[in-house]
Structure formats: structure tokens, C-alpha cells
Symmetry: C2
Subunit: 199 residues, 2 copies
Amino acid sequence: MAKGARTRAAILKAAVETASLGGFAGLNLQPLADRVGMTKSGLYAHFGSKEALQLATLEHATELFEATVVAPAKTEAAGLPRLAVIYERWLAWPANAGLPGQCPFFAAVAEFDDADGPVRERLARLFRDFQGVIEQLAASAVRHGHLPPDTDVAQFAHEVLAMRYAHHWSAGFMRDPAALGRARRGFLRLAGRLGNQRP
Amino acid sequence: MAKGARTRAAILKAAVETASLGGFAGLNLQPLADRVGMTKSGLYAHFGSKEALQLATLEHATELFEATVVAPAKTEAAGLPRLAVIYERWLAWPANAGLPGQCPFFAAVAEFDDADGPVRERLARLFRDFQGVIEQLAASAVRHGHLPPDTDVAQFAHEVLAMRYAHHWSAGFMRDPAALGRARRGFLRLAGRLGNQRP
DNA sequence: GCTACTTTAGCACGGTCGTTCGTGATTTTA
DNA sequence: TAAAATCACGAACGACCGTGCTAAAGTAGC
């Protein structure tokens, strides 16, 4: 591995960690350069623009996410079991990926919902793709008889994401110790594993 | 009404609108002063610090929220009907309050989840209080027999907020036209008005 | 060990940020 | 109408931002 690629990897590692802690807004060049132990301009030369750095950071975070959340579930039984594992791993993936803070994707969403541009587009596509993955898993669960045949898989996926988003808000901003339990309970209710009762 | 109070009100009106459009991060003094038609320093003199401006903006937004979402539901029948009206008004309250963008509270949450301070505290308290309101409404709905007696009202309130948060994300960032329908459907399922079936 | 190339440091730029201060204009009060 | 209190402006500050440029340091191939 060439020297340049090595420092680039170190930069991206620090960038994802920083984004996990302070969002993409905290992804400024000077503090990031300090973290890696080099100068602002030296770091800048690797990307050419701040936008390119953000995109590369997003890409690196995606690889981490795939490896931490999606890949380990491949061996799980298709249908609801696999979906449940992905959901559970999704809840705790920042810690499992060695990140010091919260999910960098959620942090990024909040900061780019108005500012149009390549970063926003990439981010939206990532979320759309993952929502599609959950829809397919739900459809598979229906085929396996884990969910009722009249399940609206799009609505189901939406509500699974809602539970995850609420967990991010509840654990992150609200700092509610009950957040994890609420997130699990919500999913179980969605999956019909609470005797089909209301919360 | 004195002159100072009038311009202060004008500033806060513009501030909430700006926060609705670009979040609290877009609440910079220069653009805000331009919007109101005065100088940065002239505007600044009304608050003394940016933090005080943010707190005042939060306060003003809270008054708007109370008047737009909570107050009109007072006349509704207690229990689930009142809760349903509040939820429905909550979904569309930025437009009903004359705001050009999205819910300023959700926008603020994302930007203050790491930065500790008075603004963060105030915001968290606002959310906690409103979650408490929803819990009480749910408890009332239980007493009226609108919800089953074994309902976990805290979990119920959490999931109602989850549906609202997901709507913010789905309509705002994802720009999904189906967002409103999803949010309504999710609430109906929570309230048990979909024949108790899963989505 | 010398050369060709890549990688990093150093410095400066234009711009925006929140904040301060003194002064003039404008209201409000007497 | 005169005096007093309030309000808004304009200029400037130090700090940080992203972005270029040039020169030095470091690395790799022969």
C-alpha cells in the first residue's frame, strides 16, 4: 500500500469518527488535520475540495455499515430472522464499528436536508437503497409465512425505519436510558411477536 | 407597543421562519438582519448574544406551536379523539402556523444533540414535556376505553413520536410524496383502528 | 546514490462568523 | 417644545472557514 493511500485511509477513518461525534458540520479541515497529525493543506491535497472529502467519508461509512450490519446477517435464515438480526445490528452499529459517537448517516441527514448538492443526493440514495433492502426482507418474510400475506411491505419498512430513527432521537438527543428497550419492543410489535397486542 | 418590542417581534418572526427553512444553523445574524431590513449590530443589540437569540426564537416557536397544535384540540372530546386531532395538527403545523419550511424543533434537535448548553436543555425539556402531554392523553384514552387497559402509555407515546419523527424525515429529507399517508396509517395502527392487523 | 515523482508543509487570500463600541438618529416622557 | 431615554448604524476586532499556490521533504525506481 502506497504512502498516499495509507494516509488517505487514516484521514477517512478520523473523518467518520468525527462525523459520528459532531456530525458533518463538525467535519472541518483544521480540527480533522489536527486529529490525523498533519496540516490543513496537506490533508486538503488528498481530496481537492471539502465536498469530495464529504463524499469520500460517506463512502467509507457505507463500507463500514455494510460490513457491520448487512454482511453478518447473510448467514441468518431468510425472512424475519434475518430482518431481526439486521435491525438489531443496525441499532448498535456505531459501537460495533468502533465509532465513538452516533450513526453518522443520521447526523448527516439533518445537515443536508435543505442544502441540495451531490452529498445530499448520495445520502438520499443510500437511505432509499437500504429501505429497499428492508422491503425485500419483509417481502421474503411474507413468503416464508413469518408475516401475514396482506402485509403492506412498504409501510412495514417505513415503520421499521421509524423505530430506528426514534431510537436515534431517543438515545442520542433525549439520552433516554429506556431507548433501546423501546426500539426493541416497537420492532417486536411490528413483527407481531407480542401476541399481536397494542403497546 | 413600544418601538423596540415591535422590531423584536419582527426579528423573532423572521428568525422562526429562517429556522424553519434552514435550521438553527442558518440562523446567522447577517442574513437575518437582511431579512428584517436592519444591520447586524442593530439586531444584535436586542439580544446581547447569539445564544439569547436562539433561546428567544425557541420560545417564540413554542408559543406558535401551542396556539397551532395544542390549543385547538382543547374543545375535542377527551381521550383518543383529542389525541388524534393533536397528532393530525402536529403533522402539518408548520404550514398551519404560516411557516415556509419544516418543523423548527426537529431542525434544532439535529444541530444541538452534541453541543451542550442552555439551548439544548431547553429543547430537550420542550420535547419531554410534549411527550408527557401525549402520555397523559394516552392514559386518558385508556380510561375512556379507547385503548386497551394494559396499554404501556410510555411506549405508546414513544411510538407516536416515532411516527411523527419518521414523517419529518420522510417528507423533508426523502421528499417522499407518500409520507403523509404513511404517518396517518402508522397512527391508525397504533390506535388500533386498522382491525388490529399489522401494516 | 541519483533521479523522477509523490506527498506534505508553509503562507496567504477573501470571506463569514459573533461580538464590541462609540456616535448619531429617533422615540418617548416631562 | 425640551430633556431624557431608547434604538439603530457603521466600523472594526479576532477567529475560523475553505481554497489556492509554492517550496521543501519524503519516497520509489534505476
